[in-house]
Amino acid sequence: MKQGLLAALFIARKDLRTEFRTKEALNASISFALVVLMLFSFAFDLGRDEFYDISGGLLWLVFTFAGALIVNRSFIREVPNDCLDVLIASPMPAWSLFLGKVIASFVLLLIVELVSLPVFGLFNNLQWIHAFWPLFGVMILATWGITVTGVAFSAVTVNVRLRELMLPVLHYPLLIPLLVGAMQVSTVLIKGDPTDVFQELRIVIVFDLIFTSLALYLIEFILVG
């Protein structure tokens, strides 16, 4: 168990180091998030209060779209030079490899989110600083859900034709409950409502627990067959 966790951290460090050297996925994802934020300003012509009402929803749309670019890379990165086969053949368990990849994608997506959140506030004149820490907590919980399912699907689609097209088709419908929860909690936090959001938050937590355990259990089948 401890060995497996160490191996996972090792894989995460390797992935992050590769990513920080090239910054391929990170740059693409951040620019994409900015483009989507810009598109929103053309798509909606709303008053300030109305914008607060949909702020959480828009925020998570940006994060989810940007996340697709990050998780898409996580296993495809290993395909050239047959690196994936070597990783699977290495003595570490499949779940370590998966967990390492999830941690790396999680950190990268969180960076993208932390960059896009201030820009989102700035472009749309939203006050979000007062709710930063609770919002950061929601971001951690929901981002984990997005990356754990996304990386699992990235492993599923790694040998699929048209995998870049397949991943969002499979991934987005699955994310609905997580996003419904995260969007509502974020809207309430940004608006500064005193509404009780424990129910919504619970869905996000249950989603994380179910899919983390399911993915860790099934990844052996996905990678080894």
Binding site: V160, P173, P177, F221
Partner: protein, 226 residues
């Protein structure tokens, strides 16, 4: 043997369906408040239950495939999902027509409608992914995993939408409350039996197709090896 079963199920289903349709449209009076469109219930509800039943079969077979690696389970799973998708579509379309007449709108993001639509989308991904994987074992494993993921998501979808939209326009489910008129009970039950028979026949037909497809694939591979 399987051919005979297809014919028996199909013919029995058709005969019962004709009898039941006669019962529904000629013998039974119209629904007091809704008129003739209320009879949509006899197709709408059994189609949904049939779809759930076959999604259930697909998930069971997917788990069984991962445990046993027997390809027969994979064939049953994909056949069941395809047939269940058709019945989900029947359920969505009939519901939409009913909604257009009774509510005045084709669609609303209501608890039941949304969860049913998500169910359809999740398994649509399953059907879209299958042809994109060339290798048979890999295709079967990935499909099984996808089916299990989708099944794990459905209760969460229901839970999430229940929060999001507490108000529901959808009529109370008569099967849970038992609020259906006694004269409507038999046609409803028959509607369910009829659709189950026809769906089973369709699954068997699709299963044969899948088996033949697999044989052709293995012959082609053998030829390739030579």
């Amino acid at each position: 043997m399987r051919d005979k079963a297809v014919y028996i199920l199909g013919i029995l289903g058709t005969i019962l369906m004709v009898w039941n349709l006669h019962n529904i449209f000629v013998v039974l009076p119209n629904e007091a408040a809704q008129g003739a469109i209320g009879k949509m219930l006899f197709i709408h509800v059994p189609a949904a239950i049939t779809a759930y039943a076959f999604y259930g079969v697909a998930v069971y077979c997917s788990v069984a495939f991962l445990i046993t690696k027997n390809f027969q389970y994979d064939s049953v799973a994909v056949s069941s999902v395809e047939v269940a998708q058709v019945f989900t579509l029947v359920n969505l379309v009939t519901g939409s027509i009913w909604g257009h007449i009774i509510w005045g709108i084709w669609w609303t993001w209501d608890l039941r409608l949304t969860s049913q639509f998500m169910c359809f989308m999740l398994y649509l991904g399953y059907l879209l992914m299958r042809p994109a994987i060339a290798e048979a074992t890999q295709r079967a494993v990935m499909s099984a995993i996808l089916a299990i993921f989708a099944a794990a998501d459905i209760p969460l979808v229901v839970m999430a939408i229940r929060l999001h939209n507490v108000r529901t326009q959808h009529p109370a489910p008569v099967l849970e409350t038992g609020g259906v008129d006694p004269t409507w009970q038999l046609p409803l039950l028959m509607g369910f039996i009829v659709l189950m028979l026809i769906a089973s026949a369709l699954v068997l037909v699709r299963l044969r197709q899948e088996t033949v497809h697999r044989e052709i694939d293995s012959l082609r591979r053998e030829l390739h090896a030579i």
